[in-house]
């Protein structure tokens, strides 16, 4: 609320500068060495030295870097909101089974023909946005089941266990589908599960960016409601919050954010859980008006950094992003656990 009076403005600015640096590093570094000056020329459309360089920058590295920003901010904000909604520090798209739900949607989309005899992707109308719709439906379904459980079960811990169970069920359904599917489809699904920022075309980004941007704005706009919800459902209600409406909005926002990201980039783990904790740790606030921007910037920084690590300079190999985020994420979780005994406090 008093963003300018406190240090938050300064810290956020620092994070923004860091993100900008990492963004350009991400474009600069890769298996093919391209000088900084040429990159600048390509990005500003002034002079083209080599067509192949232009291809690499505009069709590969730039969409990839933008994808990292989209992924990082969307996953972090959805994780933050789920931790507040479920009042649980371990909530996140991965643990609550939301990624598995989206995964099932994608599995049906990619491998459906071998199991059910028809494929959703066969219809040209569905092909472009089919992946997205399937993934969104999957994640939305899981969140709706979890939400109906919140209404019935007072204990939020039970809901978390239910999420883990749902994730396992969906994963086993996915393995059954995998068992019966054709080799080439199976391979493209396995590649999807490893997560990749590479597969996104600029055209898809044009489609995804405005949706994610609008949803993030929506998340900031309802931050006051998130702050009230920190007091617990009953207190929030007596302070004038329409609890059901708020919970529904949160579920839709998180389904959009994690559903879209999972569809295009695969199930990227640990960002959703870890980033909100880092945001709380450095901002020392529970105010969502401040936590949302922090989460967006911290998530962006971590994903850009992870993406730089996936394709180290002068090497041909590209590591799956999911492996990198786990390598970064898990130590941070352990560090937070040891540093701060009270990780159970979500607020």
């Amino acid at each position: 609320m008093n963003l300018l009076k406190s240090n938050h403005g300064f810290f956020l600015f620092l994070l923004l500068v860091l993100a900008t640096v990492l963004f350009f590093l991400d474009i600069l570094l890769g298996s093919v060495k391209i000088p900084l000056k040429s990159i600048f020329n390509i990005l500003t459309h002034t002079k083209i030295e080599k067509e192949s360089w232009e291809m690499i920058i505009l069709n590969n590295r730039l969409p990839k870097a933008i994808g990292a920003i989209v992924c990082g901010s969307a996953l972090s904000v959805s994780g933050l909101q789920m931790q507040t909604l479920f009042r649980n520090p371990l909530a996140g798209p991965y643990i609550l089974g939301i990624s598995s739900g989206a995964g099932l949607g994608v599995a049906i989309f990619i491998m459906g023909i071998s199991v059910f005899g028809f494929s959703v992707s066969a219809y040209s109308l569905l092909f472009n946005y089919g992946l997205l719709i399937c993934s969104f439906t999957g994640s939305f379904l899981v969140l709706m089941i979890l939400l109906s459980a919140i209404y019935r079960l007072k204990d939020i811990m039970t809901v978390l266990i239910l999420g883990v169970m749902l994730g396992s069920i969906f994963t086993s359904v996915i393995s059954v589908i995998q068992y019966f599917s054709f080799e080439n489809q199976l391979k493209s699904f396995i590649v999807w599960t490893m997560g990749s920022l590479n597969n996104v075309t600029s055209q898809q980004l044009y489609f995804v960016l405005p949706i994610i941007f609008a949803t993030l704005i929506w998340s900031i706009v309802i931050s006051k409601q998130f702050n009230l919800y920190l007091l617990g459902e009953d207190y929030a209600r007596t302070l004038g919050l329409n609890v059901r409406n708020f919970q529904l909005q949160t579920v839709i926002i998180t389904a959009i954010l994690s559903g879209i990201v999972t569809a295009y980039f695969g199930p990227i783990g640990f960002i959703g859980i870890v980033v909100p904790h880092i945001a709380r740790l450095i901002s020392k606030t529970s105010n969502h008006f401040i936590l949302v921007p922090y989460s967006i910037l911290v998530g962006t920084n971590i994903l850009l950094f992870a993406d730089i690590l996936t394709s180290l300079p002068n090497s041909e190999t590209v590591l799956p992003i999911n492996a990198i985020t786990s390598f970064i994420g898990i130590p941070i979780i352990i560090w937070i656990l040891f540093r701060k005994a009270k990780i159970t406090n979500v607020g």
Partner: protein, 255 residues
Amino acid sequence: MMEVVLKIEKLEVGYKNKAILSPITVNTHTNDMICIVGRNGQGKSTIIKTLCKLLKPISGNIFIKNIHLDKITDKQFSKLVSVVLTQKININHTLVEDFIAFGRYPFTNWLGTINENDRIIISEAMNLCGISHLKGKNFNDLSDGEKQKVNIARAIAQETPVILLDEPTAHLDLANNFETFKLLKKISKECGKSVIFSTHHIESALQLADQIWIVNNSNFYSNTPSNCIQSGEIDKLFTNTSVKYNREKNLFEFD
């Protein structure tokens, strides 16, 4: 006669369509401090929860400032009734001052901006509760007694004609218990509010309350403290136990 704030007509409270108490008909006025007493599991919390709209009444009517409870939205309700519940609040990285500011949320815009007027109301609430020295502290670092006072200050900052509290003195030591009673009495008199709360400290309630609501064996009884003692309703709370109420000393003794 003071203005009627809360008007309850033939109200039946309970769970799953089963009333647990005889129908309640009672009025409260501005400046009234009302204590709900009764043994465990008799329905004190059920009454509080029904009055704060967290539980649906089974039948009967509740009017707050002459408006029927069914016609009051959650938003309007938060400007009429403030509530202090028994559940613990676990909120990290939040200063006492900012916590009390939650009481102003029903009045602020979508950004939750606290203006100069809100600030005055918050600091007055802190003064009244004697917690101004805590304002820069972290809410989670406070003791139970301090947290309770801060939460009461939050309810005062909400500026509602009615304050409902569910066992505000539970978990508090003797000194904090008396102080909370005194504070609630002060609020009812100085701020012109109806303060209604449940408690197990019957001696303090008999000394300070303007009205006592007794829930016992599915019956609801309401009267002034002296009438409650005279009519023997207080004694009835302890039939079949080894506790006896001494009317002269206002004390509970072993039989």
